[in-house]
Amino acid sequence: MLTTLVNAQMKGIVMGMTGVKREPIIGAKLKLLGSREGTQTGEDGKFELVLPKQLPDTLVISAVGFAPDTVIVNRSDRFISLDITLFAEKLLPEIVIEMRRKTHAISRLKTLQVEELTSGELRKAACCNLSESFETNASVDVNITDAVSGAKKIQMMGIDGVYTQIQMENIPYLRGLESSFGLNSISGTWIESIQITKGTGNVVNGYESMAGLVNLELKKPTEMERFYANAYANIFGRVEANFNAGHILNERWSTGWLAHTSGMFGDMDNNGDGFRDIPMGNNLAFLNRWSYQGKKMESQFGFNTYLDRKYGGQVGYDRNLDEGKYGVEIDSRHIDVFAKTGFFMKKPYNSIGVVYNFKYQTFDAKFGIRNFKGEEKRGYVNAIFDGILGTTDHKIKVGLSNVYVDILQHMDSLSSDRVEFVPGTFAEYAYTGMRMSAVLGARVDYHNLFGFQFSPRLHTKYTLTEYTDLRFTAGKGWRVPNYMIDNISLLASSREWIMLNELKPEISWNMGGSIVQELTLFKQKGSWSADFYHTLFENQLIVDREGGLTMFSNQEGGSYSNAFQTELTISPKRNWELRFAYKFLDVKAKYGGMSQQQVMIPRHRGFFNTGYITRNKRWEYDLTVSVFGESRLPGISPTDGVYYSEVYPMVNAQITHVFKKWDFYLGGENLTNYKQKDPIIDAANPFGSKFDATEIWGPVMGINVYAGVRYAIKRKK
């Protein structure tokens, strides 16, 4: 399995120097003159290259618009990382050779365990918004939370998505009122790549990453298509349209537009329970940003608006008519203004970045006779100083942040209003050595209602062999729960809500480790990984659904998650990839007085994905099979015994045909047509005392078939 250890691997980064600015070059070419081995830099300008047996060799580095450079590579460069700077051709007509031989943190070998979903991976699931973007991935689960509102939530390590911090280009995003429906507000076609970090993330971006961190990189004005359109329709009556456009105005200014609209027009009731399987409605999302790249500073600013209306419930329900039908209405809107500025300082490698974000949002929901009203104002400032201590082996980040949240939540007779000010300060030190690297960080935040919180975090990585990486992480995260909006789906039930305690912050410690092994099988590259994470809550707001009530209470201790995942990726042939994953989730807390597995969390999950691209790259085939094991269901009464859901499969497939500018795709979801039987309890009496549409563990909708087209005018390099 393990190929000979004589081959050494070299990693590094290629940066481009244009005037004052030094930034990574994507697509720079690297070539060894002797062995004729070569590679290109990926995103972030990073590369990996297997060194041949015959050394020394000459490595040639070249990139469009930059003067090429060479460096002699020796046997001693095994494990070493190169930091290469190319100089702009127009800047220096003479060729400048300047080599900085220093180690550098590398994408594959980031100190944190980061899984990257690139645009190629995102193409595999054509639809629709962020929640579908995780379909071809085993680390993040997406769950339907009730049978009437269409809400979807992510989960990492079996822990609810609210404990995973979602950020848009390093700005905390989808929090507060967006925690339940926010995934719908970002279209899949806006996203360039997604980085999934397991465990607590960096301290730089806040204190809320408890189980994981998901960062979204949107399409960049300078690199995105000049024009891009996507249209989609499925057999349930859902249609979507997306338009993206990027303009480079001059050397310094560029702008990008991202627009998305969708509508669900079908009044679908496939299981005949009298309820719409997914709500009808429409939404509109728009994002515009401007980018300025100057000599001493760069800046980005823009805005994002979102408007969403959904109406579900019993078939024929009309919000304007009062016919005594059970109706579900969701009205969500937000406007978001963001800005980022970066200043380069005289000393190389030193910079200051400031991020601002202001958001205004309203969210109103109605589930039958139960109403929720929410309003949120949020302000966020984060200032980061980035620098090195002597060499780039030792990097530091220090900064200050401030969060302002004014959130109002009203539901039935309950209300939860508060104003938060959370000033904080943080420091992070990153060491990159030959084999060992570490990121040590800590932050202190002062919450105006809950006082000081100290959050230390540690991430380490050790390169065992050139094909094996070991990682370890431990850290603390915390958040202030919004028990109403975080659990808004549970309103689709007659169960009464009871809040037993005063609100307290939720605090968790996460620790875990992983092993990543690169393999060569069938003469192709493959990899195997395994990771285990333990999340222990010092305090968690537990939702206890045992015994006919929805009870919220602070549970100090006794709540934890153990998550094990292993994944094997092999490529039996060029252009053909197979991925197998297995996940074990042990997520327990005290429910109904006993330590029990959290409801709706399968203990076992299997995952298989295969993708094949024809040799002429004009046909892409993709198939994903997931198997979900039994999950515990909430008991009706404490003495009722334990109920489990069925084991079920989920099969998705897609075919894409690629033309020069056009792509056509045809896909199917839930191809085995598996449906949870009677997803709504007592659907005949929606206002009765037994009605419950929240016991959802499987698909409500049957087989779905969709088709769509993409059109792109790419930017010429």
Binding site: K29, G38, S62, G65, P68, D69, N616
Partner: protein
């Protein structure tokens, strides 16, 4: 410098032939250009460039395209194809690293 490896009517009724053509490709960007250009050409079943040898393997349907035309297409993209030289005006449009000797320029 080129081998012709004819595979007659193995799968489909149309005659397909596979040719291995020596090109003047320099780098990964060239690979994308040559493969991209040929794969969208009518009659080409697939084209794959090996960056180590700079040889492109082209499987094509003889009823729709001739070997001569395949080579002309490569010339039009800006690269030599065996004995046939690249079109100078196409070469000029290539980025610096794809220019002849672009990877060796120091």
């Amino acid at each position: 410098m080129f081998m012709l490896n004819a595979t007659f009517a193995q799968e489909k009724k149309g005659k397909t032939e596979t040719a291995v053509i020596q090109t003047s490709a320099e780098c990964g960007d060239c690979k994308d250009r040559i493969e991209g250009g040929l794969n969208y050409t009518k009659g080409v079943v697939f084209a794959e460039l090996d960056l180590e040898t700079k040889k492109v393997t082209v499987k094509y349907n003889t009823k729709k395209i001739t070997l001569q035309q395949v080579k002309e297409k490569i010339n039009a993209i800006g690269y030599d194809a065996d004995e046939m030289k690249a079109k100078p005006e196409a070469v000029q449009k290539l980025p610096a690293c794809c220019q002849p000797g672009g990877m060796r320029k120091q």
